[in-house]
């Protein structure tokens, strides 16, 4: 077991996979000489050279499209996009090409591509650099979607993403890059579609997405010490495929469910999970499923406003308590 930062875990995953497989390479804006806008690719240009760590022009749609083409022709590209908002420029290639090619050509071609980018608020980057948009990608059949929240998951899931034959949208979180955590030595790839139970409990299930899994854990501690409520915290880790079984099993035990995400409420991850839980476990629920989401606004710059737009521990505590209200 080694302690390392989230960004170091990502770096290690890419290096290990690139050492093992010549067909894996990294390209993106400032991933080489600059070593990554968030220093995720630090030292990689030095180790692998310009053929395999490629600085690109600022042309998101074309970078992703080239990744798709290279993947169709037998390579396993990792494309880094600087933030989720910039990934919007590449939505044509992500959806019309990456997600659809395997299906629309009757299975003849496959697209083993990883598109990595961070999302999330907290750094006062305002309305074009701070959003949380996993729900947009979750919507699309043909894509796999990962939202790792710990260094160990960051490494294990990225290794799995690189080895998988499907296009993977790999969503990191800007506020987690510096977070330290235990990472198993010589750890192999993790399986997609296997949720982690971060905290066991019997009274209410709290599902936290990406960084909100950590917020949910803190809220669970508060609920235990202040309210004598034992919350079970689940981090799905991947949204496509989603480990619904683990969530349902928990809900059947606790009879209550809260979903916490940083993204917008309408058509969000929470909306999706709430729908699935009520479809599959309606009779087990003692209260309506509660959602905690980011505010339904473009992300503001001003620090106080930005913080007001992001869910915090207290919101989660409140939502959990709401599931105990007499009905």
């Amino acid at each position: 077991m080694a302690v390392m930062r989230y960004r170091e875990a990502l770096n290690q995953a890419m290096r290990e996979e690139m050492r093992d497989d010549e067909s894996v390479f990294l390209m993106g804006e400032d991933v080489g000489v600059f070593q990554g806008a968030f220093k995720v690719s630090e030292g990689m240009l030095e180790e692998f050279g310009e053929q395999r760590v490629r600085d690109t022009p600022i042309s998101e749609n074309t970078i992703v499209g080239m990744g798709v083409g290279a993947a169709m022709a037998g390579l396993r590209p990792i494309v880094e996009i600087m933030t989720v908002n910039f990934a919007l420029l590449a939505m044509d290639q992500i959806i019309n090409s990456a997600a659809h090619i395997h299906y629309m050509f009757g299975g003849q071609a496959k697209v083993p591509l990883v598109v990595r980018f961070p999302q999330g608020g907290g750094h006062q980057l305002g309305p074009t650099h701070s959003h949380t948009m996993e729900a947009i990608f979750l919507h699309v059949p043909g894509l796999l979607v990962a939202v790792p929240s710990t260094p160990a998951d960051a490494k294990g899931l990225l290794k799995a993403a690189i080895r998988d034959d499907n296009p993977v949208i790999y969503i990191e979180h800007e506020s987690l890059y510096g977070m330290r955590g235990d990472v198993p030595d010589n750890g192999g790839p993790m399986r997609f579609g296997e949720a982690a139970i971060r905290r066991e409990g019997t009274d209410v299930t709290i599902v936290g997405i990406s960084r909100m899994a950590i917020t949910a854990e803190r809220a669970a501690e508060t609920l235990a010490s202040r309210e004598d409520i034992e919350a079970e915290v689940i981090d799905p880790r991947t949204l496509r495929p989603l480990d619904l079984d683990t969530i349902l099993e928990s809900v059947r035990k606790t009879n209550r469910c809260v979903v916490v995400e940083e993204g917008w409420p309408h058509g969000g991850v929470g909306a999706n999970i709430a729908a699935l839980v009520q479809e599959q476990a309606f009779d087990d629920l003692d209260a309506p499923v509660q959602r905690v989401t980011g505010a339904d606004v473009p992300m503001p710059y001003s620090k106080a406003l930005e913080q007001a737009a992001i869910p915090h521990e207290e919101h989660v505590v409140k939502a959990a308590l709401a599931t105990f209200r007499d009905i």
Binding site: M66, A70, G74, F105, R191, R240
Partner: protein, 417 residues
């Protein structure tokens, strides 16, 4: 006559060397020369028959025909090696046929059958043949340029000798991906030839009304991609030009932009009233029919006499007849196969339902018998087709004859109509 003005203006700015029409091109050896004619004839007859089948409602959605563009297609493909990759737009039946794909599977795809190149999932706009390295027709204008550069990057990365040809229309030269891809291909010295099929209209908008620079061969020069214009109605000129540019891609690692000046004799799609151009303009271009002029050349060279030509023509028709028969007789994709190939199944995704989140019933293929059986889905599809300019679907259906299509909706319509 916007078209003629455009061509004259552009030519005035180019050197004579780039004007393919002014040059003479040697015929290849007899067998090879005749094969070029055969391929063009096959495409012509295939396209004309596809139009007929569309009018009989055997083919749905959009149908983009390349009648008139045969020399550009066959000239280009005949300059390529087997290991080279080809990418095209949604007007791509000819490209895959020229590459050697079985016409049966191409027609079956147009018919939406399981035996089609894309198992009936792609349709006319999304043909594909991995074996012959025809890497697809793409429905998004300009969407295939980055993909082609990526394929060329893979050739370069793996140290292979293969090059990629990316064909797109004049309209695509206005997309962001055009500039982005040219820059990257030149920057990374990728083995790719970009070939803009300038049929002089982006759907119904004339070149001079959609592009500030009408000399498309020069449009990527400032991005490090030099260009050359070639007469797209001259199969030998195109072949020679593309061969040289493939050599530059392979040996000099210099991506280039070839502009093939051509004309589509039919509308943008099968249901195009063609209000944007005059009958005289179409007539003038039809007089430059790329097949007729090439066949004349073969006759002059003594490669082919009238009887020889008729025989080749009959052969092409027979191949298309067989393709239609095959498509007619092929089964439609099974409804249970709806979810196949959404994902590559393996360790992460073991079955579609692991991703489906098992919403009960409603998404299951086997529980959707209404699709294609005259239910709401059928009605919506027809409304959508009508909206998309496909004309009166019911009328097309009624006009269909000898149908082997036994969908209840059709039967009901026949009875009532």
């Amino acid at each position: 006559m916007a078209t003629q003005r455009t061509a004259q203006q552009s030519r005035g700015r180019r050197s004579g060397q780039s004007d393919g029409a002014a040059r003479k091109h040697d015929l290849p050896p007899k067998d090879e020369a005749i094969e070029l004619a055969q391929k063009m004839l096959l495409i012509r007859h295939f396209e004309e028959r596809a139009q007929e089948m569309y009018m009989k409602a055997k083919i749905g959605g959009f149908l983009h025909l390349a009648v008139g563009e045969e020399a550009t297609i066959v000239g280009t493909v005949s300059a390529m090696r087997a290991e080279d990759y080809l990418m095209s737009t949604y007007r791509e039946h000819g490209q895959t046929l020229a590459r050697g794909t079985d016409p049966k599977t191409v027609m079956a795809e147009l018919f939406g059958k399981e035996t089609g190149t894309s198992r009936g999932r792609g349709g006319s706009m999304h043909l594909f043949d991995m074996e012959r390295r025809f890497l697809g027709g793409y429905g998004i204008v300009g969407g295939n340029l980055p993909l082609a550069a990526g394929v060329a990057l893979a050739s370069d990365y793996k140290g292979e000798d293969s090059a990629t040809v990316c064909m797109f229309g004049d309209g695509a030269s206005n997309q962001g991906t055009f500039g982005e891809t040219m820059n990257l291909a030149a920057l990374w010295k990728l083995p790719v030839v970009f070939l803009v099929v300038n049929n002089q209209y982006g759907m119904g908008t004339a070149l001079s009304r959609h592009s500030a620079v009408t000399d498309l061969s020069s449009k990527a020069e400032c991005l490090g991609v030099p260009g050359e214009r070639v007469d797209g109605m001259d199969v030998l000129a195109v072949r020679e030009c593309v061969a040289e540019h493939l050599r530059r891609a392979r040996e000099d690692r210099q991506p280039t932009l070839v502009e093939a000046l051509t004309y589509r004799f039919r509308g943008h799609s099968a249901a195009d009233p063609e209000v944007y151009r005059t009958k005289e303009e179409v007539k003038q271009w039809r007089e430059r029919d790329p097949i007729a002029s090439y066949v004349r050349l073969l006759e002059e060279a003594g490669y082919l006499d009238e009887e020889g030509f008729k025989e080749r023509d009959r052969e092409a028709i027979a191949i298309v007849d067989e393709a239609v028969k095959f498509a007619e007789e092929s089964p439609a994709p099974a409804l249970e196969s709806l979810y196949e190939n959404v994902y590559v199944l393996g360790d992460q995704v073991q079955g579609w339902y692991s991703v489906d989140e098992r919403t009960p019933e409603v998404h299951r293929g086997e529980d959707e018998p209404e699709v294609g059986k005259g239910g709401v889905a059928q009605e919506l599809a027809e409304a959508g087709a009508a909206y998309a300019g496909a004309g009166d679907v019911q009328k097309r259906r009624r006009e269909g004859e000898g149908t082997s299509d036994t969908r209840p909706a059709d039967a009901a319509q026949k009875e009532s109509g």
